[in-house]
Symmetry: D2
Subunit: 350 residues, 4 copies
């Protein structure tokens, strides 16, 4: 396989696109040949992301301007609902091109569930079956051969990394899972809303999407698969005043005769060889500031005061392991590169 992967990044004017550029630029085998942002076409990237000024990047173009036959890899950071048609177009022109998608468009295997939660019919149902779910640590074989990789949502990445092993091990009960999530403001995207203004979001904590956030069916799909039974979860996200970072507090019930140590040991064993998952020792606490800017997930397991219950906590950077970092990790898997390539950055603290 060629050592230089000609890469297009679609949707380069949003945050996940920006982080994909940031990481891809320093990946030794990727060459960025096209960047799209329809409403900013013609501009240098530095005009929409000033921190990328002075770097060697092509100017922004529209989707229509990209010659799909000239790219080996497309990293999609388009809004939900627009990637299905684009992927179809790419596939029609260049069937060998690998599409690594950070939107939700190919995450849900059931197209009816997609239509129900996203409010529009699936635009490429014939391709859905080909899409590999891109939770890197749990689907390497699927990703390795795939031409479409559907990278998980940021919340699902954290939830699944924390909960799949205990469920697969039978350590926690599948019918009583309550996930209380906290996310930084970049998780809400770059769209202009009053509640996202510094003056209004700062110094405040606010729940949103209570009882109906779109990451729920995705979490349930994968947890159900891992546990072999239909799982429904409670999921309540909150915006907290930080730019990056996500912390999930999973309130679960232990299976009979299972201890906190069992749960932790199960996680430790599952992730012992994983470079991007760290299961903390007893008493160590996951914090978003410890993973900021890195591709790491930190996981901790705690005894609840309620008998028979545990609290499993996961922290990650929503724009890295929660999107662009995991996307690049999947690129590495898909193209047979060392999996950590371009992702070695240590968390930026303080």
């Amino acid at each position: 396989m060629s050592k230089t992967i000609k890469t297009a990044i679609l949707g380069a004017s949003g945050y996940t696109g920006a982080d994909a550029m940031r990481l891809a630029l320093r990946h030794p085998h990727l060459e960025i040949v096209a960047l799209t942002a329809n409403t900013h076409a013609g501009k240098p990237v530095g005009d929409v992301f000033e921190h990328l000024r002075g770097l060697d990047l092509p100017d922004l173009v529209t989707l229509d301007d990209v010659d799909w036959t000239a790219v080996d890899l497309v990293i999609c950071a388009l809004p939900h609902g627009t990637t299905q048609a684009t992927t179809k177009a790419i596939r029609a022109t260049n069937p060998d091109c690998v599409v690594v998608d950070m939107s939700a468009d190919f995450r849900l295997r059931d197209v009816d569930t997609y239509a129900q939660w996203y409010g529009i019919p699936h635009g490429a149902p014939e391709l859905q079956g080909e899409a590999a779910y891109g939770l890197s640590e749990h689907n390497r074989d699927g990703i390795a051969g795939a031409k479409i990789v559907a990278c998980p949502g940021c919340f699902p990445t954290a939830a699944l990394t924390a909960l799949i092993p205990p469920l697969a091990n039978g350590h926690v009960q599948p019918d009583d899972i309550i996930i209380d999530a906290k996310t930084g403001m970049s998780g809400a995207g770059r769209g202009l809303k009053q509640g996202m203004l510094f003056s209004e979001a700062g110094e405040g904590t606010s729940p949103y999407g209570i009882g109906h956030h779109r990451h729920m069916p995705e979490i349930e799909q994968e947890l159900s698969k891992a546990s072999g039974q239909a799982i429904t979860v409670g999921f309540t996200p909150h915006l907290v005043p930080m730019a990056r970072g996500e912390l999930l507090t999973c309130h679960v019930r232990l299976a009979d005769n299972v201890s906190i140590d069992d749960v932790r040991t199960g996680l430790v064993e599952r992730y012992a060889d994983e470079p991007f998952v760290l299961v903390l020792e007893e008493g160590q606490i996951p914090k978003t500031q410890n993973v900021r800017g890195s591709n790491m997930v930190h996981i901790g397991v705690f005894k609840d005061r309620l008998a028979g219950r545990a609290i499993i906590i996961a922290a990650l950077d929503n724009l890295v392991k929660g999107s662009a970092g995991q996307a690049l990790q999947n690129v590495n898997i898909a193209f047979g590169f060392e999996e950590t390539l371009g992702l070695e950055q240590i968390a930026l603290f303080p």
Copy 2:
């Protein structure tokens, strides 16, 4: 009763003491005659709290310097474990003096529970029985006649305000209550810890006291009282990067045949005449930035995706309704003043 209440504030170098000074200074019937801060005795208040420079306040003195016979009211902002002895000394000298305490020293009715959770024996068990629990909206009669008022902790204030009515109404099940709490950094006090430095706490979310926070037995004591049965709760607090504010997300199970609307209506009816509790309409979301600096609690009730479950959310300012504001509200009750006196400040937003 005299219209001018001679007031001492003890522990004036901490955050709750500071907010007590801020509010008491503008209360029409309180006259601050003494301020204590043992390690800063002799200094003007403006040296330990620069925002109080230029105001008409007495210099800081030690506890020993206060003439208890010259005060009608003591507002205690001392560290946990030190107020019991002080209260005893006050009572011995001036039995008519009203002590409104913001520490945990008189909150737990059972002295053994106190000893267990705070690690020291209760220093004034003979006075415990006289202490009225100062959850203003739920114990006015007790507070009105009391010489010792034990103001609730910040988390208990939010939890109890949100959960007592549904429990008392039989709307939620008492054996499955999970409280996921988020608090601003001032909740951790003014002590010097690396994790509280701006550079380390900023841009981060971190859980703490998981499974063993001292506000649990207090929440349980009062919920048990309200529901008439022993209640144990799950409680997991998180530090989020804001100075003030507290948001509690209570994951509860509905009683049979009870709807979300029933729960909300029960709360609306309970608090209809309360000036400091606002039960939000369907779809309106409690946010800490909407109550910052005010004595308000905002409560919202939401349908969970999990069948038969509800999410009850409460937001307050931990230093106002969560401590100094409620303390002043209790002063108003204890001295027979209009309950809103000195507490009319509207939230500071943005």
Copy 3:
């Protein structure tokens, strides 16, 4: 004069409007009878400012819906350029109505200077002569009799409070004044811009309007008046990641034979009886967190390392003393009330 002033607040959906509502609601002699916000007409205020939910406020209406004959006072928080016409309309209908304007529309006495800096001709030049410049401490006589009060901009309020006395005293040279300003994000208003999003503005400091900010001619107009000669200033504002607060660092050159102590003493004497200006003692440092939410200005005077130079620093809350608070102070002056009425709030710290 009537004790109840029927008050309309125009532009109630912006930050200065919000703070005007917050303060006016607690003013003992103001009754809010109308609130306008053209694009939100028909909504309750709580829909555009959630922290005002549950308060006794009229719903929002359009400007056209207000009966000017039914109001004694109009507090204007409209965008620059729209208040002149509105004031004309109010005057035509109700000549006794007092208009206290927080926009820039009547601040510049020279209508050509207005046109040059604001890019549009003055819409009510015949009224400009009647407008009193609302720097409360320096123009009480003018404000007392005025029907139009032009409240100063936030930066001018800080700059003028700090610099008028030294200039009037001949303590600093008028031809070498460099003002380096730092402001919180609310100073940029509630308009939706990417740079104001929490994720982009947080953790960052950025200058703006370098060399051409509209507050310059206003500062120069008033400094020139105070010193009796034409003054030009250097002025460079910076956005810093806080919601409220403004700090001006004025780099000035001392007049011959004038010491730092002379400058400070001059300021102390000038403001000795002013409730809202505190000149700090030697070594005490103005900080925005010490005046947040209050109507105070803190001023400090410091020796520069450069021989013959001084640094005069002023801190205030841009939404209070910098706009709505000073507006209310001017209302008090205009209507003959105690000047501190409704403005006694102590800074909210932490």
Copy 4:
């Protein structure tokens, strides 16, 4: 020269030490063989910096535990005043060892000036002459052959990068330079002070060290050298509520017949081939959020409203280009590596 440089990092429990570890760990030719932190000796690094958990790093030891003969490179992040003796000890044992120091101990060439500003006599005056001032872009030749590199302070790095070319070009007048600086809280170090607590530093801007900050003589030393005449500067730093980042606003007077464009062009030409300095185009504004976590300096030149004056603005990350990043850049120069090695990280935005 060996491709593997055995490296000790001294003072690994502070912020500059942490960033040195973060960067050195990913440098292809550095091997970290020793980490010191006297008060934490015996602990794993992850106990003092949780974001470094799970990485391959030696445990912390005391200074006395390090075998200087076994190291090729020492990166010093010790407190000011302690590095001189340590360097002496290193030199006595291993004269070939390269010491790259991030403290102020070897920055001032005149030992009397050192004693005057730091309050203690210089501890190794005989070594001062050997120390190369580590402003990478301006002293490559000196650094290349040096065994001691005195890395500049964070403020001097920004000030000198912005002002040396205009002074050397004769574009700005040397006798009227006023530097108004803004820094994130990490610039104040990891020491425990109340003013650094999140609750107190957040939402606030505060000047400090007004007229007497220790970076002044350092800036003056290098500007004097560059311009060939003694220069004194005004320098006023401010703390703003962000963890990282520094912005310097330099208010200068143009030389006769010099235009803004001349100044900018002079800077552009000087830094055209520099990978870590970007001179922005007209109208583009330096902002700290655009360089966070990177080794870049952004510089902009602006016309002041005051005739004949310019405003030169520089932004950098105080912990990267302002300390650990530039230290590593100097390591690259000293050891003959590609200068960008280990420093390619793009700014983390948002």
